[in-house]
């Protein structure tokens, strides 16, 4: 696990992002949710020009409770569309720390991702940028806000997204 104290923040943020990607790619949904602060939000804007997800249409705008609904749905024995074999592969790169408040330890990191999804014998590709607002906690960073801008946010979706990207 990445720790912060004594570490190079660049390196510990990268390790954190890789760990999050690994949660998604291994289906460790609870592990993914636990990376968020108690009031943390996972947000995928409907439109890249949006400055907040509050009160506007979003593809995802989920607090930990809604994330729990999504997770429990996927784990339900009769979540029919989960029956087909599927999986993802996330690659996260271009990690830059944009802001780092030395006093509070709050940190804003920007990165790029590419995700390939295999589902129902075919593949789809999604790509875009992440902005992570991170806060330090005794056992690593916690996400206050993760913004996920998909390059094709406004495009046609052939089928839908079931898990976080």
């Amino acid at each position: 696990m990445a720790t912060m104290s004594g570490d190079d923040p660049q390196r510990s943020v990268e390790q954190f992002l890789y760990r999050q990607a690994e949660c998604l790619d291994t289906g460790d949904w609870q592990g993914f949710i636990d990376l968020f602060a108690d009031d943390g939000i996972y947000w995928m804007p409907a439109d890249p020009s949006q400055a907040t997800g509050d009160g506007v249409p979003s593809i995802f705008y989920e607090d930990r409770d809604l994330m729990a609904v999504r997770m429990r749905r996927m784990m339900h024995p009769r979540a029919w569309s989960q029956k087909t074999e599927w999986g993802t592969n996330h690659v996260v790169s271009n990690v830059r720390i944009e802001k780092h408040d030395a006093a509070s330890g709050l940190l804003v990191a920007r990165s790029r991702f590419h995700m390939m999804e295999f589902r129902n014998d075919s593949t789809r590709h999604f790509a875009g940028s992440y902005i992570h607002h991170l806060q330090p906690s005794p056992d690593g960073y916690r996400i206050r806000l993760q913004r996920v801008d998909m390059v094709n946010a406004q495009g046609l979706y052939d089928y839908v997204l079931q898990a976080w990207v």
């Binding site: 009160g55 249409p57 729990a68 609904v69 999504r70 569309s81 839908v160 997204l161 079931q162």
Partner: protein
Amino acid sequence: MDLRQAVEADRVHRHVYTDPGIFEQEMDRIFHRVWTYVGHESQVRKPGDYWTVQVGRQPMIMIRHRDGTIHVLHNRCPHRGAMLFGNRSGNAGPTITCSYHAWQFDTDGACRMVPLSKGYDGTRLAPGGADCHLRDMKRAARVESYRGFVFANLAADGPSLREWLGDARIAFDDMCDRAPAGEVEIVPNCFRVIQNSNWKIFLENQLDALHPAVTHESTGKAAFDVEEEMKKRGGHAPLSYHYMSAFYTTPIAKWDQFQTLNYPHGHCILTGYMGLRPRDPDTLAYEEAMKQAYGEKRMEEILGVNIHHVLLYPGLSVQSPLQQLRAVRPLGVDKTLTEIWHFRLKGAPEAMYRRALGYYNLVNSPATLINADDLWNFWKIHQGLASDGGEWVSFHRNAGQDLEEGGVVTSCIGTSEAPMRNQFRAWVDYMGAR
């Protein structure tokens, strides 16, 4: 196959869903003859504002002219055929200019300018020439709107929009009346999701009260469990959880207690009540605004309307109490695009918009917690119908028990397959397969 043998009163042959030839006939005989929802007036506020839209097979635009009228035009240059708009929406300015040879058109489609126009002297396209009207952009044969919802029709003959909607126009009355100002405003965001299945499979699902407890059990149970946990923590879940948990807390037998109303032209309504009138402060503030606007009696009438879904066959599914709609754009025999929009009740407190938004995000976004399992079903249905595993699709449930009065078929049983039978009555008429 002979279309007259494809549809019976209680069953439909699988080819109707999978035969590309029948799909082409549907485009000509249904989608090019009915009223197609093209957008809401509030989408194009200023002169020159436009949105592209597909009507049947036709790429078209809805555009606001400088005199305030809304026009629906073929997105095609009369010169050599280039599409005039390659993007989805925007403002054309005072004129529409073709990117190929700069022919210019007014925002009502009339040709304003042809460069080096003397090149047409003495031809049929010259001003005053036999074909000079062919310099204009081609218009939809008819454009009408009802309470701000704009429809286009490619056929010059046939019922007016108002006649065609008939009693099913309650979809728009119910939505608009719920606004203290009596009208709604579009939220300019469209979620577009492709279903890999025939368009009719989607329409049949919209009023299928038998499926939610089965298909959506997983999401229903998940939302229910989290709702309970939130209660234990001393909080309470937003109403949007309730829309999802209802699929778990409403057993199949309960869905039988709803009703469907089946109208001419294939339109249908599923009545239902998912607890849309709770007694929380937000609802009370909204009801106060409604009372101010309408008086108590009329407000009770409006809020008492008991609709879950209205289907306007063949291209629109409206959830009026939640201010959302899904427009159906068939792309091919096994490929269907849905365009999903939601609206703001004018004059209602912001909290009421948040309610519609919660539903829009959770149910209708591309990360939907509900439609993931519907679309998966639709694909599996289409695959099954493309197979030789059987010839017929069954619509026998409660067949022969429908009550018909004045052209309206009422199923007193929510899970009756009356809406599907009604859709095919319209299909047979449009297709000339009686």
